[in-house]
């Protein structure tokens, strides 16, 4: 039963699950990047550090304030989103009219400061966050063992991603966002407070990373460099998907997680490079990315 055409199904599905979970985090992070890039035209290099901040805030809230995982899942993204709002308003906006390279460097600086701060305070060894009780244990499927918390990660990320996609593509609020992405000056002339929209959008995109951080705390070790490691892969995914495409960010994130998982099973030596290989191929064939619009 566990063998099919010489393939170890336990091993294959196990790696597919790992891939799907990594893919869930890729999707959440690249979605946030895509939303921010769409309206602000800047690449938020701090997204990985903010993901790390989300995980640390969940950890600290549990350790020192006794705030449960469930409360953290709501509170941490709100706190992180608020920090994002302050960051946009007081750091990014003053240089918004300069070359976008400056804001990119600024967000890179913020990432380094955050990462340095947490390394200084907590060292780089990493903390562990207990899996919430409701999700301890798992389900034994015919071909694999599915830990409950891992199933929850996939479901919750999908719900958040699809919900965000729906909000942007199908609602009036989303229409403002899409139109503001295309022609902010005209949106102002129509009576829409674009600067406020930009601030809130940045806050939301950053909050997504904070949410991903809380989700990640129980499965990955909570350490200052957890974000920077992930972010490099996420950038490759954003390039593959195409900058600024909301649906593209989600699909590519999940898809690349699965590709990575499959590679881990069939040819483990290439699992760390396969996403970059895909990136090179996509860039050669479709420079704007799989879902991006040709300039």
């Amino acid at each position: 039963m566990a063998e099919f055409l010489g393939i170890n199904l336990f091993g294959l599905f196990g790696q597919l699950l790992v891939g799907l979970i990594n893919g869930s985090f890729y999707a959440l992070l690249s979605l946030g990047l895509a939303i921010i890039f769409g309206l602000l035209k800047i690449i938020n290099f701090a997204q990985g550090a903010i993901y790390m901040l989300g995980a640390f805030l969940a950890y600290l809230a549990l350790q020192y304030l006794g705030i449960s995982y469930w409360a953290a899942l709501i509170v941490v993204p709100l706190v992180v989103g608020l920090l994002g709002i302050l960051m946009e308003r007081f750091l990014i906006r003053p240089i918004a009219n300069e070359d976008h390279l400056y804001s990119l460097l600024l967000t890179f600086g913020v990432a380094l400061v955050l990462q340095g701060l947490f390394t200084h305070l907590f060292g780089s060894s990493g903390m562990s966050y207990p899996i919430p009780e409701a999700f301890s244990g798992g389900i034994k499927l015919p071909f694999m063992y599915l830990p409950n918390y891992r199933a929850w990660i996939v479901v919750a990320s999908l719900v958040v991603c699809v919900g965000t996609w729906w909000m942007i593509e199908k609602t009036k609020l989303g229409a403002y966002l899409r139109a503001g992405t295309e022609n902010p000056a005209l949106m102002q002339a129509f009576g829409i407070n674009v600067p406020l929209m930009v601030t809130l959008t940045f806050g939301f995109g950053v909050a997504l990373a904070g949410f991903a951080g809380v989700m990640a705390a129980p499965v990955y070790s909570v350490s200052p460099d957890m974000g920077s490691n992930l972010l490099i892969v996420v950038f490759a995914i954003v390039v593959i998907g195409g900058m600024g495409s909301i649906g593209g960010a989600i699909i590519t994130g999940l898809g690349m997680g699965i590709v990575e998982g499959l590679t881990k099973y069939f040819y483990p030596e290439a699992s760390n490079t396969v996403i970059f290989l895909v990136m090179v191929i996509v860039l050669l064939i479709k420079p704007a990315g799989l879902f991006g619009k040709e300039a």
Partner: protein, 247 residues
């Protein structure tokens, strides 16, 4: 040619003033584009800005909407001074702006484009009425906005600000590049809007479109207003206009 529409002209001065611009200067970066514009438009008037390309006509409209780099002077809309007002607040005084490039959003379908600008007054043209006025838009309401023909896009750009209830319209080159039959349709629509009491400032290259429907014309050159022509003076000033417009 102007006899049909001159009856209202002589009462201009007694009309309620909707827009008054005094000594308006506008800048893009270091370039000084408008050099002290003065103009005034009363309720229900249709006024054009004529002039060659680069005379500052589009910039005048953009300066009114606070879409230029920097501006100084005075712009009073419906009795409210707006020279220091944030750009997104100006529409809410009842302004509707239709840019030269039409500004149809490609990531929105026709209906989303139509419904996009928030209402600025309560008595806007209803969606049903708009679809009656422009049946093509109804048929193509689920198409991507930029898939429409040029004429349909222009109608959408116009319809979109009518729905908001804006009663002062700034229209930039709405006939540019359109077939004569569509230009004719636009002229009819503008006459309907004028009959409803809307105030219209029209930047227009097509003088034959503008002449029969406008009450007054301002001629611009090098960022100045160099001439004001009332509809009933058109015939006597034809020579002068030809010189300015180079037709």
């Amino acid at each position: 040619m102007s006899t049909n529409h001159t009856s209202a002209d002589h009462t201009n001065n007694t009309r309620r003033e909707k827009l008054r611009i005094s000594d308006l200067h506008a800048f893009y970066g270091e370039s000084h584009i408008l050099h002290g514009i003065d103009l005034s438009i009363g309720q229900g008037e249709l006024v054009t800005l004529l002039g060659r390309n680069g005379a500052g006509r589009s910039t005048t409209l953009k300066a009114i909407m606070n879409m230029v780099g920097r501006r100084s002077g005075s712009i009073v809309i419906n009795g409210t001074e707006t020279i220091n007002m944030a750009a997104h607040k100006i529409a809410h005084l009842g302004m509707g702006f239709c840019p030269e490039e039409r500004g149809i959003f490609s990531s929105l379908n026709v209906e989303e484009n139509l419904m996009l600008p928030p209402a600025v007054r309560s008595d806007g043209v209803s969606v049903d009425e708009i679809y009656e006025m422009f049946p093509n838009l109804y048929e193509r309401r689920f198409s991507q906005g930029t898939r429409l023909s040029g004429g349909e896009q222009q109608m959408l750009a116009l319809a979109r600000i009518l729905r908001t209830g804006a009663n002062i319209l700034l229209l930039d080159e709405i006939t540019e590049g359109l077939a004569p039959v569509i230009v004719q349709k636009l002229a009819e629509v503008l006459m309907q809007l004028k009959a409803r009491g809307l105030t219209i400032l029209l930047v227009e290259q097509n003088f034959r479109f503008a002449a029969p429907i406008a009450d007054r014309h301002y001629v611009m050159e090098h960022g100045h207003i160099v001439e004001e022509v009332h509809a009933h003076e058109l015939i006597e000033k034809t020579e002068l206009l030809n010189t300015y417009l180079g037709v």
